[in-house]
Symmetry: C3
Subunit: 465 residues, 3 copies
């Protein structure tokens, strides 16, 4: 059977208390991924023939996030969920198949749970299947009242609940799957529920039941998945649950996470076996991490490609790649477009940007290397700066293999330093250096006998003024 999906994403989320005029609720992020994207991700394995996102408040923002992943329809007025779904009619009305309707603010829904919903729907030959959950505290939710055959008799809202109903702990999650043709047929007959003229999708349940159409139930195994985000506390709550899910499955697969409560790993991150992650790490984006690495504590990684057997300590690294057997940090920083090969040492207070560093090179301390290439086994002394900017333009430098750059060196790009060259400590280099040559650019040391005393006396005199 063909499947379709409609994601309701038109809400403002007033309780999010945002000041931004074009911030839709579903554009809020968890671990760097917008809510609606989490929902789109959960639909991926289902692979629906059509996906429709209903946007409204902040719709431009939502549309940008959705991109090519689904069709967009606009709900210009906020007239209820029934009205929202109806906006998808131009795309879906009259097509054979079944349609999942879900909210764009439920980031914890798993693909398996959605697949089970469809499977249950088809197996039970229902016209509509409601996803239910058993919750520890059902008060306030719409309760599922079942017929003897297990299908839905009705959904009872809290206001209408007597004692018997109150004892029911199975509730309506709001996610459901419809026979697509019936969905739009009934939507055409849906009447507004209240004085504000709002149309509620849940009203279809009664209409189906009244017309003798089977309304099935599919019970989700973990009620946490139904959590919808309505304020920023729930955003934090959802992140906490997602964090546990992600970290648990990494641990089960062979990753050591020293404290999974204090480790934040995004949903697109991949981590290989025997990698150990110490507390306080925040790892997001399209980051790939190999095996046998030691990462952390307090390391930030975003869009990094990392091979095997590296040590990354207390560092802030983005948009870069690191091979194998490297030592990075503590307090190292990669700003982007850094390509580190193998057996490289990047030590403390070192910043890299737009640099390729070949095998075995070392830059152990207090350096900035921008827009350049560093050869194999080259030693970059402490306090080396590759000045790549003249106030207007950025330039590139190249340093060869087995070069020794002395401490306290400033290299003014563009400069080429050939293999086996030696730069004397404390030099400012603005000309090329040939293979095996030494370059020096510093003043000779002069010692002035007794002059320290003179300076001290002067300084003390100044202090008395």
């Amino acid at each position: 059977m063909k499947t379709y999906a409609i994601i309701l994403a038109a809400g403002k989320g007033t309780r999010m208390k945002s000041l931004l005029a074009d911030k839709s609720k579903v554009s809020f992020e968890i671990l760097g991924v917008p809510l609606v994207q989490h929902v789109l991700n959960s639909l991926k394995p289902i692979n629906p023939s059509e996906k429709v996102v209903v946007v409204g408040f902040g719709g431009e923002t939502t549309t940008k996030i959705v991109g090519e992943q689904a069709k967009i329809v606009w709900q210009k007025e906020q007239k209820g969920t029934g009205h929202a779904v109806k906006q998808a009619a131009p795309i879906l009305e009259g097509k054979e198949g079944c349609t999942i309707v879900l909210c764009g603010d439920t980031p914890l829904l798993k693909s398996e749970t959605l697949q089970k919903l469809i499977d249950d729907h088809i197996a039970s030959k229902s016209s509509l299947t409601v996803m239910s959950a058993k919750v520890p505290n059902p008060h306030g939710y719409g309760r599922i009242v079942r017929k003897k055959d297990g299908s839905v008799e009705r959904i009872c809202e809290q206001a209408d609940a007597n004692k018997e109903i109150d004892a029911i702990d199975e509730v309506n999650t709001g996610v459901c799957v419809f026979d697509n043709i019936l969905l739009f047929k009934y939507l055409n007959n849906l009447k507004p529920t209240n004085a504000q003229g709002e149309y509620y999708l849940t009203d279809l349940i009664k209409m189906f039941v009244d017309d003798g159409l089977r309304v099935g139930v599919s019970l989700m195994s973990d009620y946490h998945e139904m959590l919808g985000i309505n304020d920023r506390r729930q955003l934090a709550e959802a992140l906490a649950i997602m964090k546990r899910n992600i970290n648990n499955s990494l641990m089960i697969s062979g990753v050591t996470i020293v404290d999974p409560e204090n480790t934040y790993i995004g949903p697109y991150v991949k981590v290989g076996q025997d990698t150990m992650i110490l507390p306080g790490c925040y790892i997001v984006g399209e980051t790939t991490i190999g095996c046998f690495n030691e990462i952390g504590p307090s390391t930030y990684l975003n869009n990094m490609k990392i091979g095997d057997s590296n040590k990354l300590i207390c560092s802030h690294l983005i948009d870069s790649s690191i091979g194998n057997d490297n030592n990075i940090g503590p307090y190292a920083r990669m700003r982007g477009h850094v390509n580190i090969e193998n057996h490289v040492k990047v030590g403390n207070f070192v910043e890299l940007k737009g640099v390729t560093i070949h095998d075995g090179a070392k830059m152990a301390h207090l350096s900035y290397l921008g827009d350049s290439e560093i050869g194999e086994r080259t030693n970059i002394g402490c306090g080396t700066i590759i000045a790549n900017y003249d106030g207007v333009n950025k330039f590139k430098s190249k340093i060869g293999d087995d070069v020794f750059v002395g401490s306290g060196t400033t290299i003014i790009s563009p400069v080429i330093i050939e293999d086996d060259a030696f730069i004397a400590a404390g030099s400012t280099i603005n000309h090329d250096v040939k293979k095996d040559d030494m370059a020096i650019a510093r003043a000779r040391q002069e010692n002035k006998p007794g002059y320290a005393k003179v300076l001290r006396t002067k300084a003390l005199e100044k202090s008395k003024k």
Copy 2:
């Protein structure tokens, strides 16, 4: 009705296990605020006509914290809570009104709860009202035994509890409000309870009841508020609860806190809507943060004024102000008296102290700027140092607008560099530079052909010795 407050703060807190001779229990801090200050803060909205803090052990320390906020009386001997309250007689005895008596080690008490206590006291026309709480595990607490009219019949201590009493989950919190005139009248008749000659305030309850005075009860809604601090585990427990309270109310107001369990925000901190705080941040003191900022991970802020739309990443910032649209960090540090305007970039491994930085200036890496002023759009190259100290005195420098300071520059204060000047990389600058002038202070580069080889040979020879 006039209200008064007596805060009992004379205890040592033996279980805190401090080695400090003058460390009172109430001087221990939560989120940078002493326990007794938390209690004083909770009294602020009540605005009592008189506040009296009873100090004893470590009283000097407590007195310093209290300052002008309340009157101090000394309890020289530790002779029980009744004796402690009696020390306030010279200030309060005989005055019309009601008096709240509370402990200085209960930092979680909320103003609303205290206000409700007073309101209940007045509404019920009681002579004394006891604050009670319902606790999940009442064992060990004094239980509230109520009369039919809801007033207190007696407080039953655990030792005297039979089965029926044991089942009562409403306990005495120790906080109460008295008719002030009756309080001191009865204190004069209070007898010591035990061989050690201690006078207990709770004994007044029986005396009031026996004399037919009404003793009311005011039930607090959340029993966590009654937590008193007796050891450092409870200090950590109270912090955890306060953290949750503060973070929850910030989230509800529109602040994104990625992980509220791992974010520490002090009680005086203000944060605007749409600001996002990543994990591992510690934000204390009189810090004000505007809207749309992104802060963290792992950022420490203390007494900071921060405008809107800034990014503050992995940094350590104190006693400074930051305008709007600035980019700070990662690994930046402000030591104090820094004033950053707007659109400024302060990059990695940059330390600022006593500096004003005007709009659009950039100091992207590895610099120390002390005691100086940086003009608009000026570019401070990597490795710039403003040396402000001659071993005795500190000096100031001023750098104008649109200046370009090349990398690896040391500026020896005091120096004035005028607008549009250019400092060549690698220079040490100790004289003023005029508008549009270039200053250079470095040696010319000399290349010595083949000399790198010679040096390598020498180094290898040395290594063999």
Copy 3:
């Protein structure tokens, strides 16, 4: 009575999902200490006459960890716990006394719990005593079925449990103590339990009971101690429990831990009273910390000796010692063999390695000091580098007392700078400096009128190309 101990440590721990060929399960670490070492530590106060560790998978690794602490026997084939224990026969068979048998993967077992097991064993004159625990969810565990006299009637596995058995919440922990002579006598009669030819130690219980030998029970007070590590989630779980235990006992002893959930302190670390530890600290190895220190946030300490009254902020420090009243960080790093005396300031972006720093010296910013000695009260200016490496050899420098090293100085080791010397800012120093002398090695500043304008024009032209 003599006691012996056998630790079963031959397992691979397949569910740990390690790719390493020689990684035994018991070599996984919690807070820097291998699982089997935690177990060996718990045995220390018991002081058994003989300790035997049975190794198998990854046995080389395990043997290295055990070292001289116990005798090693190999179990070449994985033929069950009975078979494993039997490998200890050459060492223990026939000796008078009692033998504790425990697993190498239970890092939470406390010495007091093991001592109680032995005491109960001896007091009850049992031939075998089983350690039991009461667990909240006993399903799946072997239940302890007791006789009227409290001794074991049998252990009932889940598969054989009826309703009555299912209600028993006392379970077998797998830890037990045997009369040593009987243990090996019965092991000789033990038959394989299954088709795979595995011998189970628990089968001895039935054999003892059947032969009328008393099998006692020793109930542990906290069931968490029985946790065995079988996957990396359990590794994290055990760490969380151990963290709470360690932090709780430190707090009780007078250490302030702001957030014990977010503070990681290893089992060998000692911390003195009135030291405060802020969140995000990771403190491991043989670290000793005195009193009145303030540590954190986000500070990493490994094998550090720290005196009293220091401030260590956001720093990464290993294998070094720090006296009293020092100020370290934020963003300081000690790589090892650093010896700091008292009243020293090590500021931001400062790296130290192999340095001795005497009383009152200051290195406040952006410096690297390697392999050297810094005298009393000496001021090391910002951007000072002691270059200790010529590409092949490492050299040492010595700087005397009361020296002033100006900012932006590079010192090329080996160099001796005597007391009271002055190094001008921006100098590269490669010769000794005598007492009271000033050394300078920099070019004079030249100002080129209007040349900044020329440079700007040139840069703009370049940008247009």
